[in-house]
């Protein structure tokens, strides 16, 4: 079972929320998967909650604007054809469609400073 875990390549740490976890791959191609391509260069690992070793979990990636490493959590980043960290989304909020703008507006109160 362990052969499928893949060697740890480093520790992924989100620059915004400090979530951290070892990652076992970086790139657009999760190992041992056929037919899956990620649309961004991702930090990922084996899905820890699945017994199947080829299931993967994306932890985060770099913001396409500021290059910060951010996790995929909705408090830190969003993907809209590309990865944006939330600070960058806010900065360019007007370029995002209305749905995203309202979503972010709702988020404000719960967001921690």
């Amino acid at each position: 079972m362990d052969s499928g875990e893949g060697a740890v390549r480093g520790v992924f740490t989100c620059e915004l929320c400090e979530l951290s976890s070892p990652y076992t791959f970086y790139g657009q191609k999760p190992p041992n998967t056929r037919g899956i391509v990620l649309l961004e260069e991702c930090y990922g690992m084996r899905d820890p909650f699945s017994p199947e070793k080829e299931k993967f979990l994306v932890l985060g990636s770099k913001c396409c604007l500021c290059n910060k490493i951010v996790c995929v959590g909705t408090e830190c980043s969003l993907f809209y054809t590309k990865r944006f960290c939330l600070p960058c989304v806010r900065e360019h909020l007007h370029q995002f469609p209305e749905q995203i703008q309202t979503e972010l507006a709702k988020k404000k109160p719960t967001q921690k400073s």
């Binding site: 979530l19 649309l39 969003l78 993907f79 370029q95």
Partner: protein, 1151 residues
């Protein structure tokens, strides 16, 4: 969308055929999700939801939203031109832009989906482009959804970790461990040290970490939790290892294991080179193994400067641990407890009771009433009540139950270790709204069992603790006041999930007067096993070992003496071969001895079962004892030979049921009031013992079966079966224990019933049946994975079918194992009531038989009946049927009780196993171990018995040593014994001899214990003119004057003619004419000479070559070895003669 669009003629999303066609495109053999996998099923469920969702959106006018989106997008685009870079975002919002995964399916690979893809359209239209893209879209959303789900689990986990008090200290901890060989982490309940500290170390580059726990169950649950938290649930980076189970693999980097197991590993590798970091958790609990482990580790860190040691403790007595390790730095972590209000409610004098009386429940009831008055029923919060013992629990439970029935506001549940596991498990279930649980527990809930949701604690301030009385060689269960540390621990149980209240049923001044800490185990218990282990680890004199808190010297000395008595240590205190072996067995010395002795004869199977049964908690539930249905059902299992035989019968019968009915065994157990878990444990332990015996060469290795065609089929079938079982086990593990049940109001009232009628019927409720059904499966599955049931069944057949001769031998083996734990029935027992039978041990007079023992139910089998004593001297209590009890435990609770007893014929057993047998001149009076006196009126018969016993013992010892000397373990090689393995024929012959001796004894004798006065004046003491001239006629035996007792020491255990009442010290006048039945000798001989002659004469006869030409291990002693050089003073000649010839020669010179 789908609603509006025209589907291909025969397209139906719900049809299996249509779905299958899409499966061929998206869920192929090597795709991320494969057809027929669990995810595949989940996808189609998701798909249906997804379609419904989209249909609804379309109906509610998604077009309008789209319509709005367009101008807005346009606006955004316009603005972007003026401020900042253009992000190049798509004009139109689409949820799929938010998905960062793409899927390459067959249609893409094959160019399928382009206009030319359709197969010959006639037979099936197949999925059209629309359907394929609809399925793809759903799949993308499904994958995205799965990612989000897993990621949010990670987030939640990390948030919980960050909220633990110890989180703030993680860098400090790692830094301390880097810089110091030993670090003490002190933190109270809820600080997270047990789960987090190992992770911090693992996460910062340490590897090969071992973390010890005092309890097996904690090893498993911590490993499970930590592997989950380290996101390694399905890997084996984090594992556990306990007595029967391990999840360890070569890639395991963090291992949770028991203290005892780590000690065993040190026994194998003193440097523990496999570990880089050792974490010893819960050191404050001060268990025997833990205290010892700390001592061993203290010397180990001096030799291994690279090793890191972390001690984790509650904030109790930290200075002691730090000081013991050269003032190791302490990291203090605050706990996370909610405020707890302490209320002192000392019991008023009129409600206090003396020790013999039942507890007065009034103080406890007042607390329940008070809670009902003060706290609204809607405010949740359960009550945990600490009492000292099981009897106290049932008294208070009864009263609380009455109150509960009256108010309908409480569910009363007991909690102690002798309950069945199902019953224990109920305390974790949930009370219905408006009702509180009242859990009445022993101190088991203080540390071992943690129950959430407790808001109120009632502390009686009492605990029952085991202590060891070295003088009476007895364990004692006594009630004590608890310590302040325990008191605080109990209080803390009220504040785990919210603010709480703790009612102390003692005064604050009592609390102040409590001892600060509980007495460490090492000060309370017998140290036999510890000393044995210390010896085998080469730790030198146990008295000079630097314990953290040294046990009393007398305690260690008692243990050393005991081990010498047991033959595990020789006179100088070094390990004997059998001692070396015993030190490797993780059981009590007496049980280990049984195993070794049993392996010598062909009694391995039953002895393995008995040894295992005696090493686990009894499977017989106490609560079922008074249930007549259970008693009736148990009846056929009872053996009047003794409790170990009842256990043997029970296990064998259970194995048969397992073989025939598999999962039906649970019902079978329930009917008989048996805790099946214990039987599973027995099976496991039994297997471990078997492996140990095998690895020590005491058991033949099983031959692999010949690779016959049939064998191959069987093996294949077994393999298929095994993989099916593994699958089941895995599925169970994924189920994660299942949710908690809601208790019924009448839950507490229902006794643990084992009466057949309502349980075996169908009406016992669906819910119960389901949960039990699942449970049965997993136990059964694990059992089948671990054991070859057919093999077990065979073994059970063997041991269920023992002949009376084998049973006699088996009883002797148990007796020799248990020796010196013997009890003598009081001579007046036959006139006493069944419940008042009295017994005596060497060190303790007036003990009772534990009510669970078969001899408490049926004491008559131990009585010497009237007509047996009749003929010769009823007045003198003579009989040939006297019996003794060999027992496993002597424990004093309200009375001293012996339990797990076997009955054995007294005279035979004593002269075969006792360490000291003394006789008078004509051997009509024998004193065994200085406390039992046997008087035989027929001196001839006594001599015959003694003489054959001496011979049998010598042979038994010789073969045992040969067997041990032959063992594979390298450790015994140093002792220089390595003779040939005893031959089968020799062993059979010995067994035959022993059985004959046990069964056909016709010696009538009286049996009694000596009074204190008699014990003082027992021996004649050393004599000025001892009979030095008596030649050492018995080969291998030196008959020399005994310097203490007087008389002649014939063997290490037999001293002749040393008893005070000897008629004549110079036994010459005891010579009577005697003819040897084996040769033509006829002359006047003293008893000793006669015995010696007989021994030589018979053993000479047995050397005859006709005896056993095929035996592959011929006797070392040849005929010539029996002759010796004899110098006759009278004729002044050197002669080479056998013992008999010497005697004859001497006679010639006599007038």
């Amino acid at each position: 969308m789908s609603g509006r669009r025209a589907e291909p003629r025969d397209w139906d999303w719900n049809s299996p055929r249509c779905r299958a066609e899409l499966d061929h495109i998206f869920f192929r053999q090597h795709d991320y999700i494969r057809a027929n996998s669990p995810e595949h099923a989940e996808f189609w469920t998701f798909f249906e939801r997804f379609q419904r969702f989209r249909a609804k959106r379309e109906l509610s006018g998604s077009s309008s939203s789209r319509g709005r989106a367009e101008p807005q997008d346009g606006k955004a685009r316009n603005r972007s031109g003026t401020g900042g870079p253009d992000l190049g975002l798509p004009k139109e919002y689409d949820a799929r832009y938010r998905i960062s995964v793409s899927v390459c399916s067959r249609d893409v690979e094959d160019g399928f989906g382009s206009s030319g893809h359709r197969r010959s359209g006639g037979e099936s239209s197949g999925p059209g482009r629309e359907q394929v893209s609809e399925c793809r879209l759903a799949l993308l959303h499904f994958l995205d959804f799965a990612q989000k789900q897993s990621f949010s689990k990670v987030l939640k986990l990390r948030r919980e970790q960050r909220n633990l008090p110890i989180f703030q200290y993680r860098e400090r901890l790692v830094e301390l461990v880097r810089r110091n060989p030993v670090v003490v982490v002190a933190g109270d309940t809820g600080c997270g040290k047990s789960t987090q500290a190992p992770q911090y170390l693992l996460g910062s580059g340490f590897s090969n970490i071992a973390c010890t726990q005092p309890r097996r169950i904690a090893c498993i649950s911590l490993a499970k939790r930590v592997s989950f938290e380290t996101l390694n649930q399905f890997g084996s980076k984090v594992g556990y290892q306990i007595r029967f189970e391990t999840s360890r693999t070569p890639s395991t980097k963090l291992l949770f294991l028991t203290e005892g197991l780590l000690l065993r590993q040190i026994q194998q590798d003193a440097a523990l080179s496999q570990y880089q970091v050792l974490i010893v958790d819960e050191v404050h609990e001060r268990h025997l193994h833990c205290d010892f482990l700390l001592g061993v580790l203290r010397s180990l860190i001096a030799r291994r400067p690279d090793l890191r040691l972390v001690l984790m403790s509650a904030t109790i007595n930290i200075k002691l641990f730090s000081g013991y390790f050269n003032h190791a730095p302490v990291l203090q972590v605050p706990g996370r407890l909610f405020p707890i209000q302490v209320i002192y409610q000392p019991i008023p004098p009129e409600e206090q009771v003396s020790k013999s009386e039942k507890l007065d429940p009034r103080p406890y009831l007042r607390v329940l009433q008070g809670i009902d008055q003060r706290y609204p029923a809607e405010e949740r919060g359960d009550l945990l009540l600490f009492l000292s013992g099981v009897a106290e629990i049932s008294t208070i439970m009864e009263a609380c139950q009455t109150y509960a029935t009256h108010t309908n506001r409480w569910i009363v549940l007991p909690l102690h270790s002798t309950l069945s596991l199902t019953q224990q498990d109920k305390v974790f279930d949930i009370a219905p709204p408006g009702v509180r649980k009242c859990i009445i527990s022993t101190n088991i809930a203080e540390t071992s069992v943690t129950i959430d949701g407790v808001r109120f604690v009632v502390d009686s301030g009492k605990v029952k603790e085991m202590s060891f009385d070295p003088k009476a060689k007895m364990q004692r269960l006594q009630e004590f006041w608890i310590s302040r540390a325990s008191s605080e621990q109990r209080k803390g149980r009220a504040g785990r999930t919210g603010p709480g209240v703790c009612y102390r049923l003692y005064a604050e001044s009592d609390y102040e007067a409590f001892a600060p800490y509980p007495v460490p185990e090492i000060h309370r218990v017998a140290l036999d096993s510890l000393v044995l282990q210390m010896k085998s680890m080469g730790l030198g004199d146990p008295l000079s070992f630097a314990f953290i808190d040294p046990p009393p010297t007398s305690s260690i000395q008692t243990a050393v003496t005991y081990l010498k008595e047991q033959g595990a240590l020789e006179a100088r205190g070094e390990l004997t071969p059998i001692g070396t072996l015993l030190s490797q067995l993780p059981v009590d010395v007496v049980i280990g001895k049984m195993l070794v002795l049993g392996s010598l004869f062909s009694l391995v199977e039953p002895v393995l079962t008995i040894a295992a049964a005696l090493s686990v908690q009894s499977p017989f539930l106490r609560s079922a004892q008074h249930n007549p249905d259970c008693s009736t059902a148990r009846q056929p299992l009872n053996s009047d030979l003794g409790d170990p035989f009842t256990l043997l019968n029970t296990f064998n019968a259970w194995v048969q049921v397992k073989g025939e009915r598999g999962g039906g065994s649970r019902k079978w157990c329930k009917r008989r009031g048996l805790e099946e878990q214990r039987l599973y444990e027995m099976a496991n332990l039994r297997r471990q013992f078997k492996e140990l015996l095998r690895s020590h060469g005491l058991l033949e290795t099983e031959e692999p079966p010949a690779p016959s065609a049939q064998g191959r089929t069987e093996r294949r079938e077994r393999l298929t079966e095994r993989s099916r079982l593994y699958q089941l086990k895995r599925e169970h593990e994924l189920q994660d224990g299942g949710r908690r049940k809601v208790l019924r109001l009448d839950e507490g009232q229902e006794e643990e019933s084992c009466s057949g009628s309502d349980n075996e019927g169908s009406g016992s409720g669906k819910k119960d049946k389901n949960s039990m059904g699942r449970d049965v499966d997993i136990q059964e599955v694990k059992f089948k994975l671990r054991h070859n049931v057919t093999k077990l069944q065979e073994a059970a057949y063997v041991s269920a079918d023992l002949s009376s001769r084998q049973l006699a031998l088996l009883r002797l083996v148990l007796c020799r194992g248990l020796y010196p734990q013997l009890a003598l029935p009081d001579e007046h027992n036959s006139t006493r009531k069944d419940s008042e039978q009295v017994f005596h041990t060497r060190n303790k007079q007036g003990v009772m038989i534990h009510p669970t023992s078969v001899f408490a139910i049926d004491p008559e089998v131990l009585h010497v009946s009237e007509n047996e004593t009749g003929e010769f001297g009823a007045d003198r209590g003579e009989s040939n049927r006297h019996q003794l009890l060999a027992f496993v435990t002597l424990l004093e609770t309200n009375k001293p009780y012996v339990s797990s007893c076997v009955r054995v014929p007294a005279l035979q057993a004593l002269i075969l196993v006792a360490n000291s047998v003394d006789s008078n001149a004509d051997c009509t009076r024998l004193v065994v171990d200085g406390w039992l006196e046997l008087c035989v009126s027929d001196g001839e018969a006594a001599l015959r018995a003694l003489s054959s016993a001496l011979k049998l013992r010598a042979e038994w010892e010789r073969l045992l040593q040969a067997q041990l000397g032959h063992t594979g373990s390298g450790s015994t090689a140093g002792l220089g014994f390595s003779g040939p393995k005893p031959g089968r024929r020799e062993l059979e012959k010995l067994a035959e001899g022993l059985v004959r001796f046990l069964v056909y004894n016709e010696v009538t004798y009286s049996l009694r214990r000596l009074t204190a006065l008699q014990t003082q004046n027992l021996y004649i003491g050393p004599q000025l003119n001892p009979e030095l001239s008596l030649p050492p006629l018995f080969p291998g035996m030196k008959a020399e004057p005994d310097p203490v007792k007087g008389g002649l020491r014939v063997t290490s255990y037999f001293t002749y003619n040393c008893l005070c009442d000897s008629k004549d010290l110079y036994s010459e006048c005891l010579r009577t004419f005697w003819s040897c039945p084996h040769c033509d000798l006829h002359m006047p001989l003293t008893p000793l000479e006669r015995m010696q002659h007989e021994a030589t004469c018979r053993s000479a006869e047995e050397q005859q070559p006709e005896d056993d030409p095929t035996d592959d291990s011929p006797q070392a002693a040849s005929t010539s070895a029996l002759t010796r050089l004899y110098h006759c003073d009278l004729c002044n000649k050197d002669l080479t003669l056998t013992s008999t010839q010497i005697l004859k020669h001497k006679r010639q010179h006599q007038p």
